[in-house]
Symmetry: C2
Subunit: 651 residues, 2 copies
Amino acid sequence: MTTQAGADLEQRGIDVIRGLAMDGPAAASSGHQGTAMALAPLAHVLYTRVLKYDASDPAWPDRDRFVLSAGHASILQYSMLHLTGHGLSLDDLKQFRQWGSETPGHPEAHTPGVEVTTGPLGQGFANGVGMAITERNLRARFGTEVCDHHTFVIAGDGCLSEGLSHEAASMAGHLGLGRLVVVYDDNHITIDGETELSLSDDAPGRFRAYGWDVDEIGEVANDLDALESALNRAKNVEDKPTLIVLRSHIGYPSPDHVDTHQAHGLAFSAEDIAKTKELMGIPATESFWVPDAVLATYREAGLRGSSARSEWEERNTEDGVATVDTSFTDGWAESLPVFESGTKMATRKASQAVLSALAEVVPGLIGGGADLTGNTGTTMADFGVQSADNPAGRQIYFGVREHAMGSILVGAAKHGGVVPFGGTFLVFADYMRPALRMAAISNANCIFVYTHDSVGVGEDGPTHQPIEHVMSLRAIPELRVIRPADATETAGAWKLALEASGPSALILSRQDLPVIDSSSATSVADGAYVISDVEDPQVILIGTGSEVSLCLESASALAEQGIASRVVSMPCWESFEDLPLAEQDVVLPPELPTVSVEAGITLGWDRHADLAVGIDRFGASAPGSTVLSELGMNVDNVVSAVSELLTVLDQ
Amino acid sequence: MTTQAGADLEQRGIDVIRGLAMDGPAAASSGHQGTAMALAPLAHVLYTRVLKYDASDPAWPDRDRFVLSAGHASILQYSMLHLTGHGLSLDDLKQFRQWGSETPGHPEAHTPGVEVTTGPLGQGFANGVGMAITERNLRARFGTEVCDHHTFVIAGDGCLSEGLSHEAASMAGHLGLGRLVVVYDDNHITIDGETELSLSDDAPGRFRAYGWDVDEIGEVANDLDALESALNRAKNVEDKPTLIVLRSHIGYPSPDHVDTHQAHGLAFSAEDIAKTKELMGIPATESFWVPDAVLATYREAGLRGSSARSEWEERNTEDGVATVDTSFTDGWAESLPVFESGTKMATRKASQAVLSALAEVVPGLIGGGADLTGNTGTTMADFGVQSADNPAGRQIYFGVREHAMGSILVGAAKHGGVVPFGGTFLVFADYMRPALRMAAISNANCIFVYTHDSVGVGEDGPTHQPIEHVMSLRAIPELRVIRPADATETAGAWKLALEASGPSALILSRQDLPVIDSSSATSVADGAYVISDVEDPQVILIGTGSEVSLCLESASALAEQGIASRVVSMPCWESFEDLPLAEQDVVLPPELPTVSVEAGITLGWDRHADLAVGIDRFGASAPGSTVLSELGMNVDNVVSAVSELLTVLDQ
């Protein structure tokens, strides 16, 4: 029971949050106060009555996870993080949306207390599914002493409109994913106007069709006890995810802007703010007003999980170091397989062999494929299939849900304690591109396995043949793109991906490739290396993936014509460009002409090559070797490109 | 009523289709017979009893549209097109999935009778929504004498699993989109195995939640009359879309492979085929068997719409030429607005002005924004909002559904009679990238309006700031990417997009940009042109979009330092690269050093520039001008880059 004084103080706290929610955007002349104001009571209840956390240690692994999928309401989360003592100062709030601040426009994972970067709609929702899967999995495998928490998400109309929400909700329903609580902020307003302009879904019916528990709590956005009891009921649902449908009023309690789409994204005027503050009974013209009593209450609430945390630490750390590494065992890299040169093997198959070898020694590996598990070599059959009946299962069948797979991997990685991976055909990287970007932007350690990496796909035709994809992935900052030449480099690619921070994309062939004598697993980490050399080379052939073998064959053919060539395998641009320039120059001496060969667009190759052999058109349906050859991926074409370049340079 | 002999002949036809469905993949050693076999009766009923078409003129504008969203079953569609006389020969079927054939692995729009390229899951489903919107719109505006048909789609579990299906179905339900009939091939099998591995949606419940009419017809995959009556009932539903849920058995009637996931993608062995043919009572070892009586019946069915077509032509053509152009009026380009130099205007606002000026004279323009209609300048308020109550409305509120918007535009463009456009923030092009690729691959004339095109977006921060997007769009073959420097070039960009074939992406600024004295609308079609020159330039600055003004300012600053520079505006790489090399050399003489300036990644710019000024990291949240300047988009940085380059070249 809350006393009257307590209730008054709680209401005052909510008034303060609403004040901050207006002041931040006003100071920045930019931002979204409307949803933050409407949901202030919900945030208050979460942070003071429901969430398990310790503000003095935002990184405590067994904390509840809170994700603001409606990331434009960031000022709400920042206000709570300041009030509860997560380390954000009032000055940080005053720096809302300013250069170098910890309070950017949308929540970014580098801010303490922000679990994952959100903003692009639907992402946080799917990240939450990934976190809840991870929590359940770790709990099942390592026990409640190690892992025993819940995941809460706030999502809006926009999140639920995105296709991503379908994939993630369908997946969560299928998995019977308890302990996942999504509050749907049903405010009937989008940027364009009222939702009825474009939306008439029966959202509760839709989520019931996914197998969710749906709780339509209605008009209780300001009823703290009703909110608390709904959240607590939902978090105790162990066998399915819960959607709490909360009817809210954007901009509440602004006298002029409640329930208007202007309340969403247009910062209130000073007059609007004063009127609203006056109505709430707080100082009308004072900005960023936080009275001591309010702050003290929140700071106390911020420590409500501290004893749980210290108990957890007693159980799970020694001298401050975790006693269980759920992700890696010592010396895991020694289990990487070695492949015999002279044989032939598709790199997707080599990747499967690597994964099978590592599954035991890298217990953090969880993942699978998007209905292409066998095809992409992402099977870990011996470790059980993730399901409600077997939450310890590490094999995840993502179904035909590439986008959700990507965002679930991001959520899993940001949860921590696992190394998530997911596979599909490279061409379908397009379906999950927003998730890839979020992985990169939030430095999430996940591994994207992309197979069927060129027109070598063959008969499935242009819709299934990547052309622009490898380069388009290289275009994403902070994403490591690794295209190994053979099985040996594939082992190196996995090692690089597992040891690095941030996301990696492995680009693997459908078709068999020779295991090359001189290929090197360890050199993959250098990004590029000399795989075949001669004395005084006249030209360098740079290949990636399946085209390294083609370069080696072409080098032999060139030798017969008296042209001496070096071949460089360049599995990873990003790692190569991280090398000191002098080391780059050893591999690619600036004075030597270079020809790149890659079965994709030539755009971008000008950076490393004087002439690029590639495929600047969509592919075609025919056997893979036919398509590759017809589109110029053959020795004759490479040889004549080299001759042409040397002739031009001679002139 | 069908006679017994007729019924026998129909069954024999279906046996023949099933034979072809096995023979095509067997000949190619690749392909998907399972779904094609299961749905042979459905295809038979569609092409002989339901669809309105005339095989002698597959391009008749008022034909019913049939979309095989489950595109991997292409052999089914090819078999029907051959049998009904659309121009595919038996030899074409024998060339299934071979180089240069008209029968590629997945249906491609260049094959007569194939409406739209499908294969990537969910695309055809959403294309169908676009076609049905277009049909309803044209019917409402031009009358049933011009447009009066239906849209049929076959979709599988994969299509419905994709997030795209949510967006498109939600949109169709909201629009009360009658005359759209989707048959859901509910076969309980995906590539990974039984659907229960990853899927447990109550699909009928889900579609009811979207407001669809749902007809669970169950186990009638081989009951022709039941199929016919369900299809006819559904096509007469005028106020909502219909989902017919058909329980089918993949691989039926193969004795060994029915209901197995092997039946999906592994071509049957000769023995499998023989056993199945024997069971059906057709020649067990004869491939591509089509008896004359069967062919004659189908050929007759293929002409069942010919009198409807000739009546339509009598009404709507004169001397074989259409009397109504629903898309353009003569001289429309004269209405393009002219902008006053010296003023300032965001190119997104200029784009809105152009659209407003053209809406009247380009009646084919239909479209809007994905919940960013005002923000992206895609308002056509005077022409009504598309809805069930106002099907003539040309303004479409797509809601927060970028991917569906993209695929709907593709469907609308491939339907024909309209020029569809859709707007969102450039960063969200990622959400619809698969649709962009399908637009390009199928040469769909649609216009993607992407605003907020750089870190100039400002406070919303890195999740909302495009960095890699412009170059990633340039990476897609056959997609025209146009980034105008100012309002004047924006008019030219629209003209180019409207006159060209295939898709265009307009890349527009959030922030105000000067209307440049020397900018040219007509030169946009050249891709690049000299916007400011001096005698004997020492260096060329190449800018796009907002950076053209920066280049002009930088050129002035350089002039003060005694460095003479030319400035080139390069709004469209693709158009520039289409110019003869000699004309390219006039703009960018090879002997002059070049510096590019674009507020995005530098990857790719090596093609045109010796040194690229750009942004090779994610952005940050702060006022747009601050972010631009902090990340190097300022005169000082450009000037020092030029000096650096000239110094290096001098050495």
